[in-house]
């Protein structure tokens, strides 16, 4: 199981922490899973961070990683 933090409008759909009971080996597999489960969200606009750093689809996910879904930021 991995725990995924969510923020902004994504949080309003998924809650602030989503538990995913799948084995996900990379960012791409997480995106595929989310796309299937939550089709109302435009996932192409949502960045993903692993251990507080932005990552890309080919990057790996390991057990214990801190994963976060980052919708378009609007600070400042």
């Amino acid at each position: 199981m991995i725990v995924v933090k969510a923020f902004g409008h994504v949080k309003e759909v998924l809650g602030s922490e989503l538990e995913v009971n799948r084995e996900l080996i990379d960012v791409k597999s997480l995106r595929d899973y989310l796309g299937n489960e939550y089709p109302t969200i435009v996932w192409s606009t949502v960045a993903i961070a692993v251990n507080k750093k932005y990552v890309q689809d080919p990057d790996p996910i390991s057990p214990g990683d801190e994963i976060a879904l980052i919708p378009p930021v609007s600070g400042g």
Partner: protein, 138 residues
């Protein structure tokens, strides 16, 4: 110095930027406006900012270090407010101290431009009749 705070104190910013080698200090303050381009007809009553705190601070420090290196700054500060903010309140302040003014302006603008691109902070606007998460504008 990077910070997420409840309330921004502008005096504090100048203390953090003080440096006897610096000849120029440029500070940008973003405040809550009473109108937004997304609802020209409606008045913003207040805003709420939420952050992914640890990552936001890490990204702010990364941007700060990039600016210090690129422009040879003596000091650089990024402070963002979180929580509820009312019209007229400061929500973000970025500032730099450099030897000469020619570095100060682009360096200060870099801090705020990059913050708006990558720092995981989100703004929700409240109107008299509704609220929504803000989509970023360039």
């Amino acid at each position: 110095m990077v910070q997420l705070v409840e309330h921004i104190d502008l005096n504090e910013v100048y203390k953090l930027l003080a440096d006897t080698k610096a000849g120029g200090t440029c500070v940008f303050v973003g405040t809550v406006r009473n109108h937004t381009p997304q609802r020209e007809d409606a008045e913003v009553t207040d805003l709420r900012f939420e952050a992914y705190d640890e990552m936001a601070l890490a990204e702010m420090e990364k941007i700060r270090q990039q600016a210090i290196e690129k422009w040879g700054l003596h000091q650089a500060v990024i402070i963002h407010a979180i929580g509820k903010k009312e019209v007229g309140e400061p929500v973000v302040v970025v500032g730099v101290a450099s030897s000469h003014r020619k570095e100060a302006f682009p360096a200060c603008q870099f801090l705020i431009d990059e913050l708006k691109k990558s720092v995981p902070i989100w703004k929700k606007e409240f109107f008299t009749d509704s609220s929504h998460w803000v989509s970023p504008t360039p």
